[in-house]
């Protein structure tokens, strides 16, 4: 519903005019004590674009997203979101991070959990519920609006968390393995649904995943990171992302070739 109607008040923040990337990450490095997690990461993402980030476990993907979101300050480098001044507050205000764990509040219903970002932003309870509830059916959550999180399956909880992120009103979505706990079929359906949402509105998305197919299907560009310390090994341009017919798209010759290239990069082979 959000994808098709898009009432004016449910639109995300205005994108400031003028050229320049919506998200720019310059020479960002970060360490945890002796351990160098990220080493000089450079990324750029235009407004409305989707950048996939794939990499082996422990390459600092989640750390990178936390840094971009403003929750963590990097040891070195600069991040800018929609022209915000450096410093975490501007990034926090313009982006929202969907962590790997769903972190639903057990004392709220599924609907109120999904509406949490809206109500924190000052929307009335009624208004927040209406706007968040519109997509419940679409995400296979219909009829579970009043259920408590502990009554939902892991996959359903993750979809509620995803909805909470999507309707939070922030322009830049930072998704950390958003569909990790879904089964293969639901996962494919949810990817196709997200592709529709992204095609219809102007969200800018940074998508961290370990699933190469997911990254290549949803993203305009995919950055492949090296194992620790994380560096960008290569960036793959995807010619026609988010095709409506997902099954056809991910089995086309071009897609399979891109996939092979990405997998070889991940395995550490030069491409």
């Amino acid at each position: 519903m959000l994808a098709t109607t898009g009432a004016p008040d449910s639109e995300p923040q205005e994108i400031p005019g003028g050229p320049g990337p919506a998200v720019s990450v310059r020479a960002v490095g970060h360490s945890f004590g002796e351990l160098v997690a990220l080493e000089r990461i450079d990324l750029e993402l235009p407004a409305g674009g989707v950048l996939g980030i794939v990499g082996p476990s422990g390459c600092g993907k989640s750390t990178l997203l936390e840094i971009v979101s403003g929750l963590t300050e990097p040891d070195s480098g600069e991040i800018s979101i929609l022209g915000a001044a450096p410093g975490p507050d501007g990034r926090l205000a313009r982006s929202v991070l969907m962590p790997q764990r769903d972190l639903l509040l057990p004392w709220l219903s599924a609907l109120d959990n999904a509406a949490l970002g809206l109500s924190l932003g000052g929307a009335s309870r009624q208004d927040a519920r209406e706007r968040a509830g519109g997509d419940f059916e679409r995400l296979g959550l219909g009829g579970f609006e009043q259920a408590r999180p502990q009554e939902l399956s892991g996959g359903m909880r993750q979809r509620v968390a995803f909805l909470r992120t999507l309707v939070s009103g922030k322009q830049v979505l930072l998704l950390d393995e958003p569909f990790a706990s879904l089964d293969a079929i639901t996962r494919a359906e949810t990817q196709a649904w997200l592709a529709g949402v992204l095609a219809a509105d102007s969200h800018t998305v940074l998508l961290v995943t370990h699933d190469v197919e997911e990254a290549l299907y949803l993203s305009d560009r995919v950055a492949v990171l090296t194992p620790r310390p994380g560096r960008v090994a290569a960036t793959i341009e995807v010619p026609s992302p988010r095709a409506p017919d997902r099954a056809a798209a991910v089995t086309s010759t071009g897609f399979v070739e891109l996939r092979e290239r990405a997998l070889r990069l991940l395995a550490g082979e030069a491409a």
Partner: protein
């Protein structure tokens, strides 16, 4: 589904209550028998070297039936004193709850305040209430105020410490999630940290309400003209042991009822957690 579950819950609750009830009945029965035979009084008198002449020492160890009789015969007196003590306990507890919660929030929000205040909070628990109670009576008189202070002083500690531990134990990832969704410090506190800490607050409150009754007795002993603590003091002075025991019984009943009330309230409010311990 709900009523069925509740009914089976009630049945298993009854079964659970069977063992402690049987033990209690057994102990009371032995006590009754021993008291009627004068065994206990004889033992006590022999210990004090006063010789055992059973019958004349009934007042020393009243039988449960004597206590029950007193409970009924003096019900007017007991009701009046119960009301006085119950008022003190409730007001003192509420005062401690408000102050304890507020302090827990403040020391949770401010590291500096925590470092400054927390040692004092712990130190306040080392003050012997028995010693400070008469002083407070000297300062503030025989009214209810010094009693509320003493009860609050006793209740304050478990409430503050438990609430603070609850606020502190919030999953750090949850705080991050609130921040990224745009919550400010106050919103995070109100929407995530306080609900999270609620079961901890209840734990503290349940401990506090049980000790509040002891606090009330100390406070009344230090200076009062009514209340169950005052009644115990007076009746034991008159060697009316049965009445003392009756007052103690009512005090215990107050503590148990308030504790059960809090447990019930907790089960009603904290619906997202299973409470197997009830």
């Amino acid at each position: 589904m709900r009523p069925g579950r509740r009914r089976s819950g009630a049945r298993s609750g009854l079964r659970r209550a069977l063992a402690p009830a049987a033990l209690l009945v057994g102990l009371v029965a032995i006590w009754e028998l021993a008291a009627q035979q004068g065994v206990l009084a004889d033992l006590l008198l022999t210990d004090q070297g006063a010789g055992g002449d059973g019958d004349s020492a009934d007042f020393l160890v009243p039988a449960p039936s004597d206590i029950a009789g007193k409970l009924w015969a003096e019900r007017g007196l007991l009701a009046g004193d119960t009301w006085v003590t119950l008022t003190e306990v409730l007001l003192g507890f509420v005062l401690a709850l408000a102050a304890g919660l507020a302090l827990a929030v403040v020391i949770h929000l401010s590291e500096t305040t925590r470092r400054a205040v927390y040692p004092l909070v712990v130190a306040s628990q080392t003050i012997p209430i028995v010693v400070i109670a008469p002083i407070l009576v000297v300062w503030f008189g025989f009214g209810i105020f010094p009693k509320l202070l003493i009860i609050s002083l006793i209740c304050f500690f478990p409430i503050t410490v438990n609430s603070y531990d609850g606020l502190r134990s919030v999953d750090p990832d949850l705080i991050k999630m609130m921040r990224t969704l745009g919550a400010n410090r106050l919103q995070t506190l109100r929407r995530a940290e306080l609900p999270w800490a609620l079961p901890f607050v209840f734990s503290g409150a349940k401990i506090a309400v049980a000790v509040a009754v002891i606090g009330a007795v100390f406070a009344e002993w230090a200076g009062a003209d009514s209340g169950l603590g005052h009644l115990i003091l007076v009746s034991s002075g008159e060697l009316s042991t049965a009445l003392s025991f009756a007052a103690i019984l009512v005090l215990a009943a107050i503590a148990i009822c308030l504790f059960a009330l809090l447990a019930l309230l907790e089960r009603r409010i904290v619906t997202w957690k299973e409470n197997p311990a009830g």
